[in-house]
Symmetry: C2
């Protein structure tokens, strides 16, 4: 997974440099903070995500950061949700199989070529020993992402492309869980996962 | 997941107290060390697994531990594989569906009622920031477990119970990845996962 350090995800530009003392709109400060946190997470890893550095590089005060987020990890989780969202859209072309392949391909590319695999593994890893971070990660990233997947699968079920009695949460566990299984548990290259086969196996079975 | 602290896994008895200076057979020392490490991991969590405590409680010398394992985490990973193995057997009754349900039920019970969910999450979590531990976990636990699953699925494929072109590694990712997805990523109770449905979805698909 070390080649993740060479090709970096292009999704996080630095926020416009704004160090003036004039009061900025809250939404703008918040957006700059999230952009800065996501950039630090994805470019330098979880250890670089400190309130000290985010304050310095976003122009927000540390007091503001402490007021808005319980910990740098919680901020990193929300930042990753916000910044990755455009890259992890669920297409709806009406063709469920093609749409799942497209979304999972974007996801695995973000993790491999995009360089997100290592920092996101670190973030999920840190959440296993820190119940506040686990709560923030689950609430601001993992469960909202599951909700987006549910919506696409619900549309497919209504369109008769999934059996009425299919359990959508289990389908989500099978698809994205397969990716995380290689990334976090087996520690084998996610790039070797054949996403088209994963989707075909999940939709059509293996008997 | 906090109820994992009340009902403890019964798989790790304390090794027989042996503090005498007489030289014990290497295999016996090794076995006592693994039993002690697994007990500390499962009863008290990853932070309790130190060479200091394992030496004190197993009767092995710290020098021996440093010689045999690169780190306490690496020892914990091997200890967990050894101690969990009898609980995670792959039955082969000839009925693939029933056998997968039985094995995954044992696995999810070990994680929930057995109390292994929290310490194993901690161990996998720590592996995300520690490449030596990641290597030890993958080599001594995750990949050997995958190999055992592959053997059962290969037998099923030979018996015509899985399509010849089915990708066995993807099936493994779908089944156990689904469990780890809830445990590590979503942070929702694994006990709510309907294992029979997971197996049925994986074998027969959802179209």
């Amino acid at each position: 997974m070390n080649d993740s350090s060479t090709k970096k995800v292009a999704m996080t530009g630095a926020p416009a440099a704004r160090r003036g003392r004039g009061r900025r709109p809250v939404a703008e400060v918040r957006s700059d903070v999230l952009t800065t946190a996501a950039r630090l997470l994805l470019e330098e890893g979880l250890r670089a995500v400190t309130f000290e550095r985010i304050a310095r590089e976003s122009g927000a005060s540390k007091t503001t950061l402490y007021k808005w987020w319980p910990s740098p990890g919680a901020l990193a989780a929300e930042a990753y949700f916000t910044q990755s969202r455009p890259h992890l859209e669920f297409p709806d072309t009406g063709d469920l199989r093609a749409d799942l392949v497209a979304q999972l391909t974007s996801f695995t590319r973000l993790m491999t070529d995009g360089g997100a695999g290592k920092p996101i593994s670190e973030l999920i890893g840190a959440a296993q020993m820190d119940s506040d971070l686990a709560e923030a990660w689950s609430r601001t990233y993992a469960l909202p992402r599951r909700e987006l997947a549910r919506r696409r699968l619900t549309a497919a079920q209504r369109a008769g492309q999934l059996r009425a009695e299919a359990d959508l949460d289990i389908i989500i566990d099978q698809l994205w869980g397969a990716c995380y299984h290689r990334l976090l548990v087996l520690k084998v290259p996610l790039a070797d996962l054949d996403v088209e086969r994963l989707v075909a196996h999940t939709l059509y079975g293996v008997r």
